[in-house]
C-alpha cells in the first residue's frame, strides 16, 4: 500500500469538516430573510436537522464544542435569547449519543420516526425556556408549526445529507 500524499491527507481533512460546514450553512439559512408570507416565525429548525443527522452518523466530526459554537452563532444572528439553542442542542446531542447503537443499520423510516419524536421535544423545551426567560407566555403555536414543518422537511434534507456523508467517506 502506497503512502497517502499530503494532498490526499488535506482532502480527507477538509472532507472531515463537512458536518461542521453543513451545520453552519443551516444556521445561515435560519437567519436569511426568506420573505415568504408568515414564514419568519415558523422558519423550519434547519440547524436541528443537521445536528440530529451528524450526531447519529458522525458524532466524532461534530463535537459538543462545535455544536455549542454553532448554536451560539444561531442565537446571535436570529436574536434568540443567547445560550438557549446551545443548551437545547447540547441536550439533544447527549441523548442521541447515548442512543447511537439503536440507529445503526436502521432504515430511513425509523430514523425519520425518531426525529419526529425528538423535534417536538426540542420545541417543548425551547418554549419552556423562552417563556421563563421572557417571564411571559410566549405564544406556543409557532413552535408547533415550526416542529411540524421541520419534521416534514427532514426527508428532503436526509437525501442531501446522505449524499454528503457518502462523499465524505469515499476513499481518495
Amino acid at each position: 500500500m502506497r503512502a497517502a500524499t499530503w494532498l490526499e491527507h488535506a482532502d480527507l481533512q477538509l472532507r472531515g469538516l463537512t458536518p461542521f460546514a453543513f451545520t453552519l450553512l443551516m444556521v445561515l439559512a435560519s437567519a436569511v430573510p426568506w420573505q415568504l408570507p408568515n414564514f419568519a416565525p415558523v422558519t423550519p429548525a434547519f440547524t436541528a436537522i443537521a445536528i440530529y443527522y451528524w450526531s447519529i452518523y458522525r458524532p466524532d466530526k461534530l463535537p459538543y464544542a462545535a455544536t455549542f459554537c454553532l448554536a451560539m452563532l444561531l442565537d446571535l444572528l436570529t436574536g434568540t435569547p443567547l445560550g438557549l439553542s446551545a443548551l437545547v442542542y447540547l441536550l439533544v446531542q447527549v441523548i442521541l449519543n447515548s442512543q447511537r447503537t439503536f440507529f445503526h443499520g436502521k432504515p430511513f423510516l425509523v430514523v425519520w420516526w425518531a426525529f419526529s419524536l425528538v423535534m417536538p421535544g426540542i420545541a417543548l423545551v425551547s418554549w419552556i425556556i423562552a417563556s421563563l426567560y421572557f417571564n411571559a407566555l410566549v405564544p406556543p403555536l409557532p413552535f408547533v408549526i415550526q416542529a411540524v414543518l421541520t419534521i416534514l422537511l427532514y426527508p428532503l434534507f436526509a437525501v442531501l445529507l446522505s449524499a454528503l456523508h457518502r462523499n465524505m467517506m469515499r476513499s481518495p
Binding site: P33, L77, G79
Partner: protein, 293 residues
C-alpha cells in the same frame, strides 16, 4: 508493540469519553450562565451581538439577495395575473388622491399660518437613512430583523424604524455597520400611541402575534374597529403622528391593532433620526432584547 498499543487504546477510549462528558457539562453550564447573564446584563450581550452581526453582514447580504429575488419573482407573476384590475383600481384611487391632495395643501397652508400666529414650537426635523433587511428572526422566539446600517451610518439605539406603510419597530442594538430592529409585534415591544380620532392615549404592546394590543387605554376611551392608531410622541423617541395601524377588534378584555406594515415584504426599512438633543441619555432609553418589564 501491538500489545502496548492495545493497552493504550483500552485506556484512551474511556479517557476520551470522560473528556467528552466533562466538555458537555462545562458547555451546558456555560450556556446557562450566558443566558442568565444576558438577562441580567443585556448591554454586555448587545455589544457581542453587534460585533457578530457586523462580521456576518457581508455573508448575510450575499444570501439575502437571492432570497429577495426569489420572493420578487413570485410577486411579479402574481402582479402580471391581475394587472388590469390593479390598473382600474389605481386610476380610481388616483382621482380620489388628487382631490385629497388639493384639500391637504390648503389645510397645511392654513395650519402653517395658524402655527405662526400662535408661536408654536416646531417639531424637530427628522433625518433618515434607508437600509436593507439582511436577516430575520427565523424562529418562534422573537420578532426582530437585522439591517445593513449601523453606527457608521448614525443608526443609534432607540430610533424609530418605518416603511412607506407605517411604523415597523425600533433599533434595539447597533453595531458598526449593522443594527437589530425590534419589530412592534415582539413580546418586548412597547410603543406610546394615540387613537387618532379621539386622541386617547395607550401603549401598543407586542406579544409575538401578528396583532399587538392596546394597553393602558382609559376605560371611557372611544375606540372603534377601524380607528387609526398613530405614535403619540410621548417619551421623545418617536416623532408624533407616525401611522401604526388600525384597530382590528375591540373586545371586553383587549383591543387588537392590525399594523399597516406588510411583514412579508420587509425588504427595505427607513431609520428615523429623531432624538431630541439631551432629552434622554442613551442609557435611560427603553428597548433591549430580553429586558425586564
Amino acid at each position: 508493540m501491538r500489545a502496548y498499543r492495545g493497552r493504550a487504546l483500552l485506556l484512551a477510549l474511556p479517557l476520551k469519553s470522560l473528556i467528552q462528558r466533562f466538555a458537555f457539562v462545562l458547555l451546558v453550564g456555560a450556556a446557562i450562565t450566558i443566558m442568565i447573564l444576558s438577562r441580567a446584563e443585556p448591554r454586555l450581550v448587545d455589544n457581542l451581538r453587534g460585533a457578530v452581526s457586523d462580521a456576518a453582514t457581508p455573508i448575510l447580504e450575499f444570501f439575502s439577495h437571492p432570497a429577495a429575488s426569489f420572493a420578487s419573482l413570485v410577486e411579479n407573476v402574481d402582479a402580471v395575473l391581475d394587472v388590469h384590475e390593479e390598473n382600474a383600481r389605481l386610476e380610481k384611487q388616483n382621482a380620489q388622491l388628487l382631490n385629497r391632495q388639493a384639500v391637504a395643501e390648503q389645510i397645511s397652508r392654513e395650519n402653517a399660518e395658524l402655527r405662526l400666529m400662535l408661536h408654536v414650537v416646531p417639531d424637530p426635523q427628522a433625518s433618515f437613512i434607508t437600509a436593507r433587511v439582511i436577516s430575520d428572526s427565523g424562529g418562534p422566539f422573537v420578532r426582530t430583523v437585522l439591517i445593513n446600517a449601523g453606527k457608521q451610518n448614525n443608526v443609534r439605539r432607540g430610533q424609530a424604524v418605518i416603511t412607506s406603510e407605517g411604523l415597523t419597530g425600533r433599533v434595539v442594538s447597533a453595531g458598526q455597520h449593522s443594527a437589530r430592529i425590534l419589530l412592534l409585534t415582539d413580546l418586548n415591544s412597547r410603543i406610546p400611541v394615540v387613537v387618532e380620532s379621539s386622541r386617547a392615549r395607550a401603549v401598543l404592546t407586542g406579544d409575538n402575534t401578528p396583532r399587538p394590543r392596546l394597553e393602558f387605554l382609559a376605560i371611557d376611551a372611544r375606540v372603534g374597529v377601524g380607528s387609526r392608531i398613530v405614535t403619540s410622541g410621548h417619551g421623545g423617541i418617536f416623532p408624533p403622528g407616525l401611522p401604526v395601524g388600525i384597530v382590528f377588534s375591540v373586545g371586553e378584555e383587549r383591543v387588537l391593532v392590525q399594523p399597516y406594515v406588510n411583514w412579508d415584504r420587509l425588504e427595505f426599512v427607513t431609520v428615523l433620526d429623531y432624538t431630541l438633543p439631551g432629552f434622554l441619555p442613551e442609557t435611560r432609553r427603553a428597548g433591549r432584547i430580553g429586558e425586564l418589564r
